[in-house]
Amino acid sequence: MTESLLPVDAYLVESLPEIWFGVVLFALGMYVVLDGFDFGIGMLYATRTDEHERETFLAGFGPVWDANEVWLVAFGTMLLAAFPRVYSRLLADNYLLAIGFVLALLFRGLGPELREQRDDEQWKRYADYAFIGGSVFAPLLLGMLAGRWLFDGATLPVVLTGVGLVAVSVVTGAAFLAAKTEPALAAELRTYGIGATVAYLGGVVVLLGTVVLTDAGGAADTILSGPVAAVVALSVAAGVGGSLLARRGQYRAWLVSALALPTLLTVLIALLLYPVIYPPTGLLVREAVVSPLALNLVTVLGFPVLLVVLWYFKFLYGVFSGPIEGEGYGG
């Protein structure tokens, strides 16, 4: 019955494993971009002492963070569906990092929820610690996990990848909030955003330089290739251009170029990996992929749904577009 519907011994299209490599990284990119600005909001929240401003930040974050976080689950489960060995090894070989990351996410998600539940300074302070701490550690540990994936055990590149993800999250968080708040607050956010942009671009250069010098994970040759150079150049252009736009108060345009940074970071990850998908053991995309029938099935059932999901996000962000209204996290 199935044979007539789906090819069993051949992929629907010859390059389906490569397409899935792209789709899995697309989901990772969506996560890094979308939840990235949530993390940024959480970190910038630490710089606010005024209750009204804190509430405004939470109101900007409230309607979307949960949906954003689902991209992590989409990434993980699609990785499992298409490349089960990579999912297993990545998480099992980095046990404490992975568990630390999910616990950081837990505190980040719970903090704002708790904050609403009691009008008590002490209580709110603890809830804020959870929110801010989770927002710092989640991108740091996720970045380190990505670093371990790309560069195997080398310590400095791994830490730099983590710090880089923290910095780029601050950039997008600042730009997202600046585009949705009043000018005075936006101007303050701009300062943090530009500082983080400089830190991020500097971090990427140092990271790639270190990897070239030490050849961590055997990635030196890839880094010195044309496509990587192009991605780095585009990142610098987006960072510098975005900062100039921010200076001129064009926050919406700044947001667009800020969001280009984590997008380009994901492209960089893809370039550093391909055609390998798990550098620590040198496993190739073609070796790690599941059998044709299984991949054809998740393609036929999954891809249309993925398009619908993108429409949901368009709808969600459409409903909550424009300046942040009201205050606070609760409905």
């Binding site: 089960p84 999910v102 616990l103 599941v290 409903v319 909550f320 409905g331």
Partner: protein, 482 residues
């Protein structure tokens, strides 16, 4: 039970850590036990949310606005808890049970990815609209959002149970060698996704979620009515919960009975553990079992139990009509699940199930007589019963999951073979302790949030705090003014 040493002593006499396997199993068991409470809260609350939202928008009746607002807040808090506890679940397939993920990847990866894409996104996106978008979208879109949130919750359960049912009755695959490892290759998606267990599990679990939430709604309503009689909204909520219970509680017993027969057919070892049936042969049905000695708690056997049994009816039920049918006993197997946990969990669940039927019929009778909200005794009983649905749901899952041991995939892969070979007992124990501490805090927080929401509700109904309280202690029976 298993030949793996339970304890690996790192530094003799100072600190003893659990083995990686035992710590991983305890960690997964503990985290899923907490997660499933929130997951089933979403499933069971979904029909209430849709109904209240629809009535609120349709009638503009203050009653429904009040109920919608209260239960959407409960739903939202539960959903946040479900999200933050759900992500560690899928991660643990990789961190703690990588061999399982690799062997079963082709079979479980697809359904788990569908769960994320078809269900989880739907729920998360439209909950955002439901919580924050009342003034930003049209009425029709708002009601539709509540429906989509509910559909998301029920679809989520569907795909997760596709995975679990496959682990109980695996099919639609063949074992092949890939990258030097024996893995399952998908050969027939229909057989693999719609295993014989799937329908049984889905119906039983969705209904269990509805029962659990109906008991919770009834308990909260009863408490508020107790504090402030004659509140229209909460009388409506109580009646609705009771009506749902009248339908769902008896149905669960009838369905569960047939489900048990299916388990006997497909997983005889689990069935034998549920009945502590050791010798292959004719089986009695133990309607009630009480321990004769303390040993029965840890090792229930015919010798140490006082049972109210129907001779040979176990055979009759398991075979669908033959009193002499042979029921396979545990002695046939080399390795068995922890029988005591399965045996007592099963009895606990069934006992609670009958209690729920009693409460449902009592409530149904009172509703029929038009005295539902006037019976103090009934209100008290429902307050006390409000967490019991979850107790039944959890013990039911212990029967299912512990009863499948030593297998993680029945007949194909043992749990001990699925555990990470690179994981140390120290790391696993460390994270286990972390999860225990954090999740205890999480559960307490969830209870605190519920308490806080109820207190807010009472204040908005005009009940002054700690005044004219008819409620005095945690257990209704001990209040001193009745």
């Amino acid at each position: 039970m298993s030949p793996t040493p339970v304890l690996t002593t790192l530094d003799p006499g100072v600190v003893a850590f659990l083995s990686a396997e035992l710590a991983s199993r305890m960690q997964f068991g503990w985290t899923i036990s907490v997660h499933i409470i929130f997951a089933s809260l979403s499933i069971g609350l979904a029909p209430f949310i849709v109904y209240f939202t629809w009535k609120d928008v349709r009638t503009n009746d203050e009653r429904y606005a009040r109920l919608r607002s209260f239960w959407v807040n409960v739903f939202a808090a539960g959903f946040v808890m479900g999200t933050v506890t759900g992500i560690p679940m899928s991660f643990q397939f990789g961190t703690n049970f990588p061999q399982f993920s690799e062997v079963a990847g082709e079979l479980i990866g697809g359904p788990l990815a569908f769960e994320a894409k078809m269900a989880f996104f739907l729920e998360a996106v439209f909950l955002g609209v439901l919580l924050y978008g009342r003034d930003r979208v049209r009425d029709r879109t708002y009601v539709l959002s509540s429906v989509l949130v509910g559909v998301g919750a029920w679809l989520s359960g569907f795909w997760i149970l596709v995975v679990n049912a496959w682990m109980q009755t695996p099919r639609g695959y063949e074992m092949v060698t890939r990258n030097g490892m024996e893995v399952a290759k998908l050969t027939d998606p229909f057989a693999a996704f719609l295993t014989p267990r799937m329908t049984w599990m889905y119906v039983h679990m969705m209904n269990a979620s509805v029962i659990s939430v109906a008991l919770l709604v009834a308990g909260v309503s009863a408490y508020i009515i107790w504090k402030k009689p004659d509140t229209d909204a909460w009388n409506t909520a109580l009646k609705l919960a009771v009506v749902l219970l009248v339908v769902s509680a008896p149905f669960q017993a009838i369905h569960g009975d047939a489900y048990g027969r299916h388990v006997e057919d497909t997983q005889p070892q689990k069935f034998a553990a549920m009945e502590a049936h050791y010798e292959t042969g004719q089986a009695d049905l133990h309607l009630l079992a009480f321990p004769k000695s303390a040993s029965a708690l840890t090792d229930p056997r015919a010798e140490n139990l006082v049972t109210v049994s129907l001779p040979a009816v176990g055979s009759f039920l398991a075979s669908g009509g033959d009193f002499d049918a042979e029921v396979i006993g545990l002695n046939e197997y080399e390795e068995n699940p922890p029988v005591a946990l399965v045996f007592w969990s099963f009895r606990f669940m069934v006992g609670l199930g009958f209690l729920f039927i009693g409460l449902a019929l009592w409530g149904g009778y009172l509703t029929y007589r038009g005295r539902l909200s006037d019976s103090t005794r009934y209100l008290k009983a429902m307050i006390a019963a409000s967490p019991l649905g979850y107790a039944a749901l959890l013990t039911g899952w212990y029967v299912t999951e512990i009863g499948r041991q030593p297998w993680v995939i029945q007949g194909e892969l043992k749990t001990s073979e699925a555990v990470s070979s690179t994981l140390t007992g120290t790391e696993a124990t460390l994270t286990l302790v972390g999860f225990v501490v954090v999740y205890v805090g999480l559960v307490l927080t969830a209870l605190y949030i519920l308490k806080w929401l109820v207190r807010e509700e009472l204040q908005s109904l005009g009940v002054r705090e700690s005044s004219d309280g008819r409620w005095h202690g945690p257990i209704p029976g001990v209040s001193d003014d009745d």
